[in-house]
């Protein structure tokens, strides 16, 4: 353990000495932790951090988790994973002060209003319009795939402020109060039976000027910060060897072997999947180390693509090992979870299998990720892209 990491651990332990778990509510304790600069340690002082290296975060989190503090990462996944870094990087002092603390305490849940029915892989083509009015903007359009919108207090909104500009240039980034008049959140049911996501309809919603994050017309640059953090967060945190989806796979394999339903053919296939998942796990660790050293490499994108691609085969094969149990399902009743679990782990392989079908779509399709690896990491030339420099209003769209 490095000296910096030791210091981080000590600081967290010292804080817990003064603010033990129990006497206060979790929210109060998280508030105090924020005020002590132990929330997101590489953030500035006063913004929940101490200006430390981002690499010290895991050590600090570890101390709090071990002390029994709840893990909020799935409950406020957009807030902690995307809103916080975006607001910290691009927000005004006022915006940081307004949002970062309640975001960290869990008082404010956040959602992300980017994707639209006509703008998926091609996010920059989005059509939600923001028109300038007295003191702010009027926004209309439809967003989709909005995790946690039904419980969110705030939304990260990307909207088009200038349709005559090429698509990447006419966008502006807003912080949207989800309680505004004209915001209509409707559950979007998925093939699992759940409505994990939502559609959000915006009908002439007023957004004040001080809700613009970054520059007017500079929304794409701000969105990049958000999306880069999505890649990191969906890539997952280092897990133990053999845990997660492949852990379930091995458990199902053992049952199948005990029942005489699986021989060396199945075993060989399981070990192929196991080795690939282990390789992805290790690559994810490398990505984390690179980030910590301040020399981020391609490992993060590689691990993200691999996890998007390998989860479904793991659950697919688990289904084969289930035998006739794969014919049944737990329950298709529509429910609306208030947390996000992307990579399975529900304990029911059948649900996890169905859920895994989205892994190669959400957070960037595998096709888009391969293009990113090919062009940005390997330096391969782009395709002809006539859509890049054409005014958005003249573009062919779905």
């Amino acid at each position: 353990m490095s000296r910096a990491t030791e210091a981080a651990t000590e600081a967290a332990e010292a804080f817990l000495g003064e603010h033990p778990v129990g006497p206060t509510s979790d929210q109060e304790q998280r508030g105090a932790r924020f005020d002590a600069g132990l929330a997101i340690v590489h953030f500035d002082t006063g913004s929940g951090g101490r200006g430390w290296d981002a690499g010290e975060q895991p050590a600090v989190d570890e101390v709090f988790l071990r002390a029994g503090c709840p893990d909020w990462s799935a409950r406020n996944v957009i807030g902690l994973g995307m809103a916080a870094p975006t607001i910290h990087a691009h927000g005004t002092e006022q915006q940081r002060r307004r949002h970062l603390r309640p975001l960290f305490t869990g008082e404010d849940i956040w959602c992300q209003l980017f994707s639209e029915p006509g703008a998926g892989s091609d996010l920059a083509a989005l059509a939600t319009r923001a028109v300038r009015v007295e003191g702010g903007w009027r926004v209309s359009g439809q967003k989709v795939w909005t995790t946690l919108a039904h419980v969110a207090r705030w939304g990260l909104l990307l909207a088009r402020t200038d349709p005559e500009q090429p698509k990447h240039r006419g966008l502006t980034y807003f912080v949207l109060d989800m309680r505004s008049a004209g915001v209509d959140v409707r559950p979007l049911r998925q093939l699992t039976g759940e409505a994990e996501f939502n559609e959000v309809y915006l009908d002439d919603v007023f957004v004040p000027d001080d809700a613009v994050l970054g520059e007017v017309g500079g929304g794409w640059q701000v969105a990049m910060t958000t999306l880069m953090n999505e890649r990191v967060s969906l890539g997952g945190r280092p897990a133990e060897r053999g845990s997660g989806a492949v852990g379930q796979l091995v458990a199902v394999l053992r049952q199948a072997r005990a029942a005489g339903r699986a021989g060396d053919a199945e075993l060989d296939r399981v070990m192929r999947l196991w080795a690939r998942a282990e390789a992805a796990r290790l690559t994810n660790i490398r990505a984390g180390e690179q980030l910590r050293r301040g020399t981020p490499g391609p490992e993060g994108s590689i691990a993200k693509l691999q996890m998007a691609e390998s989860n479904n085969p793991v659950y697919d094969h688990s289904m084969e090992l289930l035998g006739t149990q794969a014919l049944l399902y737990r329950d298709y009743t529509e429910t609306r979870p208030d947390f996000a679990a992307v990579h399975g782990g529900s304990g029911d392989v059948r649900y996890d299998y169905l859920r895994s079908l989205a892994n190669s779509i959400e957070g960037g399709t595998s096709e888009v990720l391969r293009t990113v690896l090919g062009e940005r990491v390997l330096g391969l030339p782009p395709e002809p892209r006539p859509d890049k420099d054409t005014p958005w209003a003249s573009l062919r769209r779905s």
Binding site: S121, L188, G263, M319, T324, A326, L327, L357, S398
Partner: protein
Amino acid sequence: MSFMPGADAEELRTHLRKFLDQHADRTRLRQQLDRDSGYDPNLWRRAADELGLAGLATPERLGGSDAGLSTLGVVFEELGRALTCAPYLATIGLATSAVRAACGAEVAAPMLAAITSGTVATLAWDGEWPSGSALRLDGTAITGIAPLVLDGNDAELLLVAARVDGGAVGLCRVEPNAAGLLRTPLVTLDTTRRMSRIDFDAVPATMLAEDAGADLDHALDIAALLLAAEQVGGAGRVLEMAVEYAQSRIQFGRPIGSFQAVKHRCADMLVDVELARSLVFHALHAADADPAAAALESALVRGFVSDAYVACAAANIQIHGGIGFTWEHDAHLYLKRAKAAQALFGSSTAARLRAAALLGVST
């Protein structure tokens, strides 16, 4: 000479597709999924009456058309394409095959006639193969549990494979409303195909055929071949869906189907669908010509076709992106049909190893 379906079968395909487009479209499919019963009795009867669908595997002297497996393959392909919710696999694939394989002409006649006029039938057993059924016939009463019976709650004619006094497996019949019989509908992964658990507590049974294990296993092989045809139909349909979407969905200023990542994936789906179609219709043709070929042919076909359908149905979701992951869109219904069909009559791996044994490759 060709192993592909002939002109008559293709004509039947045209009629059936029109019938299904008209009477079993997307809206009615969705309505059907919300009902307790796994099929629409009116539709089932009309298909029997107007198209003779229920009698395709019944001898002509009993009012059927005895059309042969290749023609049945076309029917299953179309039913799979339209994702029709109907007990066709249970009634024609399984029960009719069982009766024809195991029963003498006199015993079979009334049952086949009933099926031909629209009676829903199924076969229950407990185990991988009917010949290994763990249901017990002691004297004249059946005891045990059949954990997964196709259309078990809808079946009016309930056939059971049971071990007779600890000896060979026989084919019996029980009344669906008999005392001691408990039918419990299950939540199936594939909501377009219903299954039930049936508990037998000393249920009175009529013996239809003694020592019928091998015949019933043969019936299961026939059912598996017809299921394979259904799988090909579904795989073909998801390819169509993917292509239609790829032609119309615009991203980056052009249809996504113009990108090689999507185009080549569709091409791979096409290859899988047509290879599967070749395998299945060749297998049906071979089993028509020589019933003894059914065991090898069904084992050969099963792994490839099951895996191809799942791959195509998953690719269809991927090409659709987020919209393909919604409950609203039909893509998931095909995926679930594909995934359940893959698990229905034993795993793909088991089928491949069985094929190896039957081919003599593994020795």
